[in-house]
Point group: C2
């Protein structure tokens, strides 16, 4: 980086409180870089080039370099990036240095799978509570956690700060659950129900909708089939690897 003043705002030594405000698109890619870096670390690499890491993360190398440059200069020219250092940096920026508590609401079909997902713990998240409204499921024990009634949410939230609420209820109940989560002080929600949630502006909502993904694929499938039926029938797909988020 061009700035190289000694004890300034974002010095790399020790705790670095000043978060550079990253482009949203960059934030969305950092977790992918992190996963690729962990893969590198397990394979024994000490350093990676932007080219190598970009390939592992499925992105353009220039894009990766620009993304990483936003966090500061943690690479060495002619060598590459120090894997361990970069992991630490990204984990710090993403706020993964503290283990975040996750509450799951709606322990049905999908909820059961989520509750037992080990990908939570391995990425710095900790499922601390399961909630449902159905008396039949309440009391059930899943992976050491007992399903509690949704009305106990305020009590649980009072003793353990819940960082993220996950909604896996039917769409009809999702808004009510979101309201309860917000009332309990939750400011980040991951919503699996196919509906839009209305929340205060300080609350972040992200949605995962399987049907939408399928319909987007369906569109491209449709386009491909009508294209190949036309005269200049080159079966030109969009791009080999497509982004999820965006």
């Amino acid at each position: 980086m061009s700035q190289h003043r000694p004890g300034s705002t974002s010095g790399p030594a020790g705790a670095v409180p000043a978060l550079p405000d990253l482009p949203e698109a960059t934030v969305a890619r950092l977790p992918e870089y992190l996963r690729a870096l962990h893969h590198c670390a397990e394979t024994g690499y000490e350093t990676v080039s932007s080219e190598g890491l970009a390939a592992a993360a499925g992105v353009n190398s220039a894009k990766l370099r620009k993304d990483l440059s936003h966090l500061g200069s943690y690479g060495t020219r002619g060598v590459g990036y120090d894997v361990a250092l970069l992991i630490d940096q990204i984990e710090y920026v993403l706020g993964l240095t503290q283990r975040r508590a996750v509450a799951l609401v709606g322990v049905g079909n999908l909820g059961h799978a989520l509750a037992g997902y080990d990908g939570f713990a391995s990425r710095g998240f900790h499922v601390v509570a399961l909630f449902d409204a159905d008396p039949a499921t309440i009391g059930e024990r899943i992976h050491g956690l007992q399903v509690r009634h949704i009305d106990e949410l305020p009590a649980v939230a009072a003793e353990t700060a819940i960082a993220i609420g996950v909604i896996a209820t039917p769409a009809a109940a999702a808004q009510a659950v979101a309201d309860q989560l917000v009332a309990a002080g939750v400011t980040s929600i991951l919503n699996f129900a196919p509906c839009v949630l209305s929340v205060p502006p300080n609350v972040d909502v992200r949605k995962v909708d399987l049907a939408i993904e399928l319909q987007i694929l369906s569109f491209h499938e449709h386009r491909k089939s009508t294209l190949t039926a036309l005269p200049g029938g080159r079966a030109a797909g969009t791009s080999g690897q497509e982004a999820v988020g965006s």
Copy 2:
């Protein structure tokens, strides 16, 4: 639309083969509009204004109008959009007029939930086959479908054209499964495993990664907490409703 020549390429009467090539961002929002429209139809609305539909879909009304304008002019000024007509149009563009066959590979924790998901059928998709590699799960019957060995995929694909393959195996197996799907002629893949897939350019891949969503939420949580700790402690969130996609 401004063009109004009688028997031209994209006349609204009958089958409309010419697909206008929509911006990718628009395609990603169409399913959300479709869901909102179905909701309107069930509530008894005959027409909706762009304002009303936009609110139901959680987007800006100008954006919605521009998106819809790409499919042609299906609104009436001073009135709004005909709900039923617009549903038909969007479903046509997304290729949902034909029911698409879905094959699910990996019937574990997550796979069980997906196999029993009724949101598939209600949106024009039909799960036609379940595959796994574990002898213990093969033969199991889920919602009327029997789990078959992954090696039977070519045989199944030969008798039923598979439009979309869903991968719900561990990450280590995902690439191999993707290769098998591609070899069987599948050109659209939805991947739940946290890894990048390498596929030929004519194959579309979309990824759903729970951990990435959580980490993005974690970032904003982190940013919020450091912001409120600073002097001008306005707890200014990003936006009330955040996009899922890109």
